[in-house]
């Protein structure tokens, strides 16, 4: 229980840092760190396949994509940077306060979880679930990867080539 609270608090802290930091590259690094935290939490819940997938795909690929995109932005001068930092602070100072207040409020609220848990005794492994029961999902993933491939071809081409 205490470990849960610790992991979740670290997660929320990293998310806050990602949102509030001034440098864009640090924001992207924060996003990768969020993926790592999520992976740790998923391992804790005994969901190894999803955790490894998340770590490899998200923390790796999204990092690469963002770095590529972010590297197209300009470099800012020192003064502009200070101006931006002050602007950011003015806009975002409310966020940690909102988070803390919301957290305190939600911990008090007692939502009656009066629903009946389904009596599911499933001893399937993830592989058999994906292959035998959810083949349409696999077709969907193939099609969405195709769509992504077409998108990359069409969007990353130079104009007029």
């Amino acid at each position: 229980m205490a470990l849960d609270i610790l992991l979740l608090s670290v997660l929320v802290y990293i998310v806050l840092w990602t949102v509030m930091t001034t440098r864009l590259l640090r924001s992207v690094m924060g996003l990768a760190l969020t993926s790592v935290m999520l992976t740790i939490i998923m391992f804790r819940f005994n969901a190894p396949l999803a955790a490894v997938f998340e770590l490899s795909v998200c923390a790796g690929l999204i990092f690469v994509i963002f770095i590529t995109t972010v590297s197209f932005t300009q470099r800012v001068s020192k003064e502009r940077f200070e101006v931006r930092r002050r602007e950011r602070f003015e806009k975002f100072w409310a966020l940690p306060i909102i988070i803390i207040l919301a957290g305190a409020f939600l911990f008090q609220v007692n939502i009656p979880l009066n629903f009946q848990l389904p009596s599911v005794i499933s001893s399937y492994s993830v592989n058999s679930v994906l292959w035998n029961f959810r083949q349409v999902d696999l077709l969907g993933q193939i099609v969405i990867l195709l769509a992504g491939a077409f998108g990359v071809v069409m969007l990353f081409k130079e104009k007029g080539k």
């Binding site: 849960d4 609270i5 979740l8 997660l11 929320v12 998310v15 806050l16 990602t18 949102v19 864009l24 924001s27 992207v28 996003l31 969020t34 993926s35 999520l38 939490i41 998923m42 819940f45 969901a47 396949l49 999803a50 998340e54 998200c58 999204i62 994509i65 963002f66 590529t68 995109t69 197209f72 932005t73 806009k91 975002f92 966020l95 909102i98 988070i99 919301a102 957290g103 939600l106 979880l113 629903f115 009946q116 848990l117 599911v120 005794i121 499933s122 399937y124 993830v126 679930v129 994906l130 999902d137 993933q141 969405i144 990867l145 769509a147 992504g148 998108g151 990359v152 969007l155 990353f156």
Partner: protein, 106 residues
């Protein structure tokens, strides 16, 4: 539902809501397109965690992991396409400041 699971779910759901609030704030209050994307990423990670919790509580982690895997694939393709759009907006405008994107009066 056993008390143990109830407590776990309540705890996790509070933190998930906090992360969702942070993500929404990031999207609404940022003037930079890439930050809006980061906000969407944060939101999707929060709901990924929610699916895992739901799977743990109903003892159906196999299905939950299958859902999470599909969701991650969707997320990646969305980010790639979004990155492509931002790239082209940058090539047109030389900036990714949303205050300069006001051609559409919607």
């Amino acid at each position: 539902m056993s008390a143990d699971f109830t407590q776990l779910f309540s705890l996790y759901s509070v933190f998930i809501v906090l992360v969702l609030i942070a993500g929404f704030y990031c999207i609404i209050a940022s003037f930079n397109l890439v930050r809006a994307l980061i906000g969407i990423e944060i939101l999707m990670k929060a709901v990924t965690l929610l699916i895992i919790i739901a799977g743990y509580v109903t003892n159906n982690l196999a299905l939950a992991q299958a859902l999470v895997i599909s969701l991650i694939v969707i997320e990646v393709v969305l980010m790639v396409v979004a990155g492509g759009l931002i790239l082209w907006i940058f090539r047109h405008n030389e900036t990714i400041d949303t205050r300069k994107l006001n051609l559409l009066k919607g």
